[in-house]
Amino acid sequence: MNGIHDMGGMQDMGPIQYEKDEPVFHAVWEGRIYGINASLMRNWNLDAWRYQIELLPPAEYLQLSYYERWLRINEQLLVKHSLITAAELAAGVVEPGSAKATPTLTAAAAMKRLGRGLPPSDDPKVAPQFEVGQRVRARNINPTGHTRLPRYARGKAGAIARDHGAYTFPDSNALFLGEKRQHVYSVRFAARELWGEQASPRDSMYLDLWDDYLERA
């Protein structure tokens, strides 16, 4: 989706606000929503989670702080996936007769899950479509769903710098339409290919892109 989240290359966002000796969490509630979020992730997947953030209206996205976004989309996902009702969320109390989840995610399970890891990327059953050194072009696609191909790279030519093996395809996984595993590559784009003459001729951007985002150049 061509949303506000896809902000690489935008200008006028102001100076970078640097906080010296910044705490991990700025308030107790930030840590709690971090933990709630981690505990609930097993009910959806990371791609669907990212897509939910992207669905926030642009003005709201920009106005909310980072963890306020997490709070907002966890509320939305809980209702969307029927884990709580809108009435329960509004009232803050469980409706009579509501089923209780079993088993509850324990502290030990939460930590284990945190370290569980992604499936291995060295899957010989998934063949790469491109090879290191090959010239490629990022496809000019504008899906309304989730995608990890930023607008600033679409239609631009680069070269495969490194093959990272097979990964779940976010565009389909975010919509629960399958993992569609395929290779991900570091693709090198010259800064001038992306930004024109104002960029340094020496500089480059590397993006991690899936097979389905690429075509031969």
């Binding site: 690489g8 966002m13 970078i16 990272h164 991900v184």
Partner: protein, 199 residues
């Protein structure tokens, strides 16, 4: 803008809303408050940039380790005991006299948790995410980091599940420091690539 209108976007104090949500979810059996305690404690006290600093210091003193780190960072980092989510696939990129690396996630907030902990606010900000790719040298200058014209700046946009750690250049005049002393010099910002390590 009326007071009520303000509150349509953030209907009430997030602290109150999170508290209400947590008690609802606990009652539903969907979260365990003890699990939340452990997760918060982990990132406040156990996982953070000191982990990454030890990785960098080891790479500076042990060429074989650095070679393993550049080839398969997740395994080399695991050798030091650092494993957890958001680090399963990690790429270490090395700063040299001719190359300066900078890491960003333009689409969200991807960051190598096992070695750097959770990202700071500036890394997740619109200002950094938008400009790091179109004006990396301007961003570096904003951090007080000068990179010569003839040095190649490489920006790594974390668009997939790869996470990045920059191995900064070892400062001159540090040949007599121990690995532990070297680790104390390595900052979070240097491992994102926005600053250099000072001796």
């Amino acid at each position: 803008m009326s007071h009520d209108h303000d509150h349509q976007v953030v209907p009430s104090d997030p602290a109150l809303r999170v508290k209400a949500l947590e008690s609802l979810l606990v009652e539903k059996g969907l979260v365990d408050p003890a699990a939340l305690d452990v997760l918060v404690d982990t990132f406040e006290h156990k996982v953070g940039p000191r982990n990454g600093a030890r990785v960098v210091a080891r790479a500076w003193v042990d060429p074989d380790y650095k070679e393993r780190l550049l080839r398969d960072a997740a395994s080399a980092i695991a050798e030091l005991g650092y494993t957890s989510g958001q680090g399963e696939h990690t790429l270490a990129v090395e700063n040299t006299p001719t190359v300066h690396n900078l890491v960003v996630c333009t689409l969200c907030s991807c960051y190598p948790w096992p070695v750097l902990g959770l990202p700071p606010v500036w890394y997740k900000s619109s200002a950094y995410r938008s400009r790091a790719v179109i004006d990396p040298r301007g961003v570096l200058r904003e951090f007080g980091t000068e990179v010569d014209e003839d040095v190649e700046v490489r920006v790594w946009d974390s668009t997939a599940e790869l996470r990045y750690i920059v191995i900064p250049e070892r400062p001159a005049g540090t040949q007599n420091l121990t690995e532990e002393e070297l680790a104390a010099l390595v900052t979070r910002d240097s491992m994102v690539g926005v600053r250099k390590v000072k001796g």
